[in-house]
């Protein structure tokens, strides 16, 4: 592949594909489907979602997926700084909405998940992070939060509301363990089963967005390290 084609591909991924992916995550992150009618419900992010998203983005920056110096510079044109700023904004909004998607809406479940997410992100912030390890760590964190909310809690809530059927082991477990001592764990709204599929797609897409970000960052740094190839770095102004 010629250097100019590579450069065009990089620009496409960085300026069009990445924001599109994170904008789709932004759209779907707050989307739920009503259990009665299947109607769309769009839940806006809470203040706590924003706080967690700031930490998540800080971890991404610490993991060197985002090198701020490559995104903003006084040497860049206004257009380039604006375009980069908007791409970063989509990454932040995607992070806000993926947190919105994974945090239970209220009750003890919200408190538990929020505490553990806050704890993990806060401790990660002070660790020596490497991009690949950080991606694996985030995949494990988001995957666990997804399973907790959409598999474990959703089954418990469904069972507690009588949706589990007579033979459901989850129902029996819920009845025996949580009938009187749930401490508000099950006090979360019940959504249609399709909400879990939407959330699964959203989390997967967010992960894909981070992998794209990693690929773009790696490719950009490789092309920057090899100026003898004649390829223009994404962060340089040569093509503009």
């Amino acid at each position: 592949m010629s250097s100019s084609t590579k450069n065009k591909n990089l620009l496409f991924w960085r300026y069009l594909a990445l924001p599109a992916v994170f904008l789709i995550v932004t759209l779907l992150g707050g989307m739920r489907l009503s259990v009665e009618s299947g109607a769309f419900l769009f839940l806006p992010p809470t203040l706590f979602n924003l706080v967690l998203a700031v930490l998540l983005v800080a971890v991404i920056v610490r993991g060197k997926l985002l090198l701020i110096g490559e995104w903003f510079s006084a040497e860049f044109s206004v257009l380039k700084n604006c375009a980069n700023g908007l791409v970063l904004l989509t990454i932040f909004s995607g992070s806000v909405q993926v947190i919105n998607c994974l945090l239970p809406e209220k009750g003890l479940a919200f408190g538990l998940t929020a505490f553990f997410l806050l704890w993990t992100l806060w401790t990660n912030l002070f660790a020596e992070l490497e991009a690949k390890k950080m991606l694996r760590s985030l995949a494990a964190l988001l995957g666990f939060a997804f399973v907790f909310k959409y598999v474990f809690l959703a089954s418990l809530v469904s069972a507690a509301n009588g949706g589990g059927g007579e033979e459901s082991w989850m129902r029996k477990l819920a009845e025996s363990l949580f009938e009187k001592v749930s401490l508000g764990l099950l006090e979360i709204p019940e959504f249609s089963g399709a909400t879990g599929y939407v959330a699964f797609f959203t989390v997967l897409l967010y992960g894909a967005g981070l992998i794209f970000l990693y690929s773009v960052a790696s490719a950009a740094s490789v092309s920057k390290e090899r100026p003898e190839d004649g390829s223009a770095s994404v962060s340089s102004e040569t093509t503009s």
């Binding site: 904008l23 375009a83 909004s93």
Partner: protein, 165 residues
Amino acid sequence: MNEKTIQILSVLLVLAFGGAIVWIYAKQPQNLQEVVSKAAVSTGTYGIDEAEFKRGLEFFRQDNFSAAREYFVRADPEKRDAKVQFYAAYSFYRQGFGRVYDDDALFKQGLEAINTSLALKPDLKINDDENLKMKTPQELKTELQNGLEVTVEDFNPMKLTRERK
């Protein structure tokens, strides 16, 4: 495409798509049809579905008011047309009308619909429908309000002879 063009496209993409997302979260459409109708209202291109409205009128004239209202809702999902809302209110009136007593629940819904119609077009007058005895939203509103009030007149035996308008 050079870098500058791609960056301009990127800015446009983020602003347009981001704006659409903010709009969706603000308007809270409940299904894809509502997304389309609310978007039409926002862009000023909203119009009622005349075919559905005509079907609703047919049911209205056959005294099948529930079915008529279903078609009125389909014709004007955003409740932006005074005439459709007038007919919807009229259907509540006719269905709720009773010689002995009126159905308060239906009359209340009728009052809501007629208030919407009045807010949209206070000077509305239906001249092309001989079937209607009340031609303006004001007349219909008065009739609905009278039906909801309990007065001495309600105990007048002559009330049994009154006709539905």
